[in-house]
Amino acid sequence: MAIIPKLFRQWFDQQGWTILTHQREMAAHFQRRDSTLLTAPTGTGKTLSGFLGPLIDIVETAPKGLHTLYISPLKALNYDIERNVEAIISALDLPVRIESRTGDTSSYRRQRQRTKPPHILLTTPESLMLLLSYPDAAQMFGSLQAVIIDEIHQVAASKRGDLIALALAQLEDYAPGYRRIGLSATVAEPDLFCQWLGRDGEPVAHLDSPVGKPPKVSILKTKKAVPYSGFMAQYAVPEILAEIEKARTTIVFVNTRAQAELLFQFLWEANSDALPIAIYHASLTREMRLKTIGMMTAGKLRALVATSAIELGIDWGDVDVVIQVGAPKGVSRLLQRIGRSNHQVGVPSKAFLVPANRFEVLECEAAIAAIAARQLDGDHPLPGSQDVAVQFILNAACSAPVTPERMYDILRSSWSYRYLSFADFEALFRFVIDGGYVLRNYDRWHRLIETPDGWVPANKQIIQRHRQNIGVIIEAGKLRVRKRHGRGGKVLGDIEEQFGQSMRPGDTFYFAGEVLAFERIYDMTLEARASAAKEPLLPSYSGGQMPLSTFLAEGVRGLLQSGDAIARLPGPVRHWLTLQSRFSLLPNRKTLLIESFPRHKLHTLVLYTFEGRRANQTLGMLISRRMERYELHPLSFTLTDYGLAINSIEQVTDGMIYDLLSSDILADELEEWLAESPMLKRSFRRVATIAGLVEQNNNAARKTLKQVTFSTDLIYDVLRKYEPGHVLLHLAHDDAERELLDVERLKDMILKFQNHIEFVDLPRPSPLSLPVILDVRTERLPGGGMAALLAQEGVEATAEHLIAEVEHGLDD
């Protein structure tokens, strides 16, 4: 066991805390120089576990130079941690210097951090890359003893995770054998994360903190029944408000910004006691967000309606209750949200789920069952992205001369890039040197030139340009939203450029909880005035649409094939499913249920895939292409996380169904569709920006999305024409398949079910199909919020009518 000096033990006593087992063990691992992944639920002293070892070591060895590097994906988290660790340091009067370094750090301080580094430096992946690009990187990091990576579960399966993985590999050059300490929420497969974190494919040790009491999660009971379809959960507003009144502080989580704006509006309309309820999402200004955080931590708010913008490990004060409105989409994600409540060790969190439609009831039940059984889902780390590798190679060359052989070794020592072949690597290296064009080479315009020591940047501009463009987050274009009064005005936040440009003067929209009327776009600012209109246009849905996790989808399928589980469901839902099993079939784990029925003089084909919106969208595009080929004339399709409905003029018959879903659809139709869709252009823009072909930043003047889009589209067209085999086109293709289409997931599904299809020919729509065929959610709802509600009511009436028809048919 670890030796915890008296000083530290006394501090724990003064706080009235005991040193937890995993905190002590983490310190022991540190003292043994072991790299370790700690998985623990939120609110179990994880941060302290990570810093205890380094703090003790710094006090005992009084090192000169940088001792511990802490990397988190969020600037705000860095400040939070800095405050917490600083509190210990000053309480014990320890001789330890801690500083954070982010994009906001002053240039004076940055300079000092390089010449006289603190003992502990807190930073982001991007800022770390920048530090690694300086010629003195070897010197600065030479004394490094440990690197702590926080929120690994959030960041590992992303391009930012690739950036961290490569930085870790590079640091091994400067400080061989430094400790790698990973902090993570509880994950389904910790072994994968241990490997991700390890050097040369050697997994790090794993410590799992004992989980506390399981959270108390239940579906919120409401007077009104859950509707058949929809996403706004307006039916539950009175009960949500009642829970807010009962608790001291509540966080109401929603899945998209649009839901946040709408629910916030509904709550205030019903909030007769004027309880202080606020809203929080990523589009609001920094000032507004900080103000809300301040009020929240000071306990001045009774409730906060929030999107995932607040999920990362910041302390939000004393929250009693968490309410999740809309489907949870994933078990791990739900647990993290629930973990926001009762940040005390040993006290179970309390949460309510509010499904927005009947399918979501099933999803909520499946999630609750998984939580009770302590099962988890989650993102797995993917093979490293090659565009990030390109950025990394140039980054290394900015610091010191590089050779292809050495760079290849460094890349391959990271688990994420272990399968990168030398041939693929050479293409990337070639691209860094001169763009790697075959037909015409840039002999005079090399980015890297060869010296006896290795390759170095050809000139200073190249280094400068690279440093300004480090990072992998390609921002969606944003417009500032400015509310004008008279001549003055106030900036409220940012809105997607695309959404802003779709508006005309006079159009109204919700933003920051207000109804605004669009006036004009001027100089990247959207100017609007307060509006008295009651029928605003909604914010667009772009982003925020998490697909249903595979794990939870399996849970829903399992629930549907268990009579016992169905018997425990609320009455209306049970009735709905019973009708379905009598009229058609219930889906199960082994087969893919497909229904066909006439509707509005067309034929509708419904596939209950349970594969999430993204995969269903892709499948919809592919199957309708194939249907066109078979002259079935598909006209439109609608989709949810659970299923896909395609309307066509001709009917799909039993004999055709296996041809429609055969696995070659992923070759022929996919290639054809990709070539024509704007999807690849979007991916090309992303990889071209990350690989440094075009820039986001130039001399601090940020290009607008439009400019970047325009130029990458032009490059894309020309490249496809003259050099279709270019490495960037390959990367764009991979990126599109992975990031946008969920092709892997679709592939798995088609292979699994292509010989196990249950096809049912029905005289009219089945009960189960209603949420799919009546889904009114589109990119933009027609007519605005209130009109959407009206549409929703119409839909509900249609659903009731269709159900009555089914019942009538069964009685005959």
Binding site: R447, Q461, F710, Y722
Partner: protein
Amino acid sequence: MASTIEVTFAHHRFVLDADLALWWPSERVLVVSDLHLEKSTFLAQFGSAIAPYDTHDTLLRLESLIRKYSPQTLILLGDSFHDRGAWQRLEAATRDHLLGLCNGVGSCLWVEGNHDVGLVRDDRLTFIDEAVIDGIAFRHEPVPSGGPQIIGHFHPKLGVHVRGHRLSGKCFAVNAHMMILPAFGSFTGGLNLDHGAFTALAGDLPFTPYLVYQGTITRRPPIHS
């Protein structure tokens, strides 16, 4: 879905081609503007390894227009080169291609644009300030004169809403006194027609845009400021 559209400008009949060119049938004059040749290699100097095929692509498109119309006169309406070093950076074969195209027509007029000023070149290339044919002035940038003028320089483009979809493309902009040509170069961006620069230029006579989109050209309602 037309690939050309006829307009009357200054009492003459012109053809606007979706391949970003202006054709004057009676005078057999073909006009293109803002080629910005060697923009890719210009950017390459600053570390951006953009695909270097823009000049090649631009010249191939120009070649096919020359084949289509067999013009007597070819007018390059300025900013033919992206920067002062562009001529020198041309590969020998590309330079020959360019000169070959020019020598293949009766006369080839290089109007000087702001990007062409100071171009390091040899005597095979001479610029003129403007060309005037039948009282119509062809120049790069507009001058506040009384006569009708055909210009480039502004790279006009237009975004429109069609049944809820938004699409945008390069465009021609025409009023009674002035015609602005779209940029011809493969790597040229654009300035939206609702920008202040255009409304100032239009004065009391709003521009009628002719939108080029995927090989077609369509007349759109005039842009009022």
